[in-house]
């Protein structure tokens, strides 16, 4: 009895926001991927958009190879942005409520025209320099958390499994060092 209580408490500490919002969100991310795959046969990832969109403004050969897919990748990204907005206008705004959603306490909420929006407290320099490395790394490493993490792992690709293990390990190390240096948020 006492040990199971200790165990329960340990689990609660590892998952302070429960797991349902993560699991449900993950199912939806997977469902979005599946909808596109069923109709088109394309396992879509998010990071190629960065290069394919650059092909509109740069004739570097590296970007021009994505000319054929650049239009639908813009549509995919617009869908992701508006999907985030749809979430904000419904669940985040409290218009739709579900016990599966744990609102948490991160960042800052603000309101525009009755929609509850959210802004990060993470410092801009972290976002900017981190973003640069994300832009370089995902394109050299052939994928990001969706291309490798969702599509690649989903097709049991050894390349993607190694890619995920690499960026996950390095990201954990990086975040630990950044936090140890006293940078927060």
């Amino acid at each position: 009895m006492a040990t199971s209580l200790v165990l329960l408490q340990a689990v609660a500490e590892l998952f302070p926001n429960g797991i349902s919002r993560y699991a449900v969100g993950g199912l939806l991310v997977g469902l979005g991927t599946v909808v596109i795959y069923v109709g088109t046969g394309i396992p879509a990832g998010a990071s190629t958009f960065l290069e394919s969109t650059l092909s509109y403004v740069s004739d570097q050969s590296r970007f021009q190879r994505y000319v054929g897919s650049r239009d639908w990748r813009v549509v995919f990204t617009a869908g992701i942005v508006l999907g985030g907005l749809a979430f904000a206008a419904t669940v985040q705004s409290g218009v739709v409520t579900t016990s599966l959603y744990e609102p948490g306490t991160t960042g800052t909420l603000y309101e525009v025209a009755g929609v509850t929006l959210w802004a990060t407290d993470v410092q801009p320099w972290r976002l900017f320099f981190g973003g640069i490395l994300v832009g370089i790394g995902t394109r050299i490493g052939k994928g990001c958390t969706s291309g490798h993490g969702v599509c690649g792992v989903g097709s049991a690709s050894k390349t993607s499994l190694v890619g995920v293990a690499t960026f996950l390990t390095v990201a954990i190390g990086t975040a630990q060092v950044v936090a140890a240096l006293g940078v927060s948020p």
């Binding site: 991927t33 909808v35 998010a46 050969s61 942005v81 985030g84 990060t120 790394g137 969702v150």
Partner: protein, 152 residues
């Protein structure tokens, strides 16, 4: 490419909507939540990534047995495996440093803009800058590189 099915883009859009809604609901659009995972303070993140991978994995495994080709493109349902080389490790490590520093990855950054996080434009600007820098450099250093079309 020109004569794609008229429903091709609408379907991609709907898929993107669901994908983005999921990133919002799971709080992956919030850099704080990703950083909290990397600091082992909230271990929820793998439920998102692996949950999504399982759902898509089932479709990737089943569809080729049900149909030969996708209705809107005529493309076969096949595994598009990316070849492994040193770049996967080097790029993965660079991405890892960026992800660990910022707590944001490309898809989540797009969704983050949607949930109202205007500050994420710093990250999106950085991502375009980084993607441009590597593309500029690689276009120069080995122009005839085989077109290993990355589907992501």
């Amino acid at each position: 490419m020109a004569d794609r099915h008229p429903l091709f883009k609408p379907l991609v859009f709907v898929g993107g909507l669901i994908f983005g809604f999921g990133l919002g609901f799971s709080h992956m659009a919030r850099p704080e939540v990703v950083v909290n995972f990397l600091l082992f303070e909230d271990l929820g993140l793998p439920f998102v990534m692996f949950g999504a991978a399982i759902v898509s994995g089932v479709a990737f495994a089943l569809l080729p047995r049900i149909r030969d080709a996708a209705p809107l493109t005529g493309d076969p349902y096949e595994r598009r495996l990316k070849p492994f080389d040193r770049n996967v490790l080097v790029g993965g490590a660079v991405f890892g440093v960026g992800w660990g520093l910022s707590g944001i990855c490309p898809g989540a950054a797009y969704a983050s803009l949607g949930v109202g996080n205007v500050t994420i434009l710093w990250a999106l600007g950085g991502m375009f800058l980084g993607a441009y820098a590597q593309g500029y450099w690689r276009s120069r250093s080995r122009a005839p590189e085989a077109a290993a079309a990355g589907a992501d």
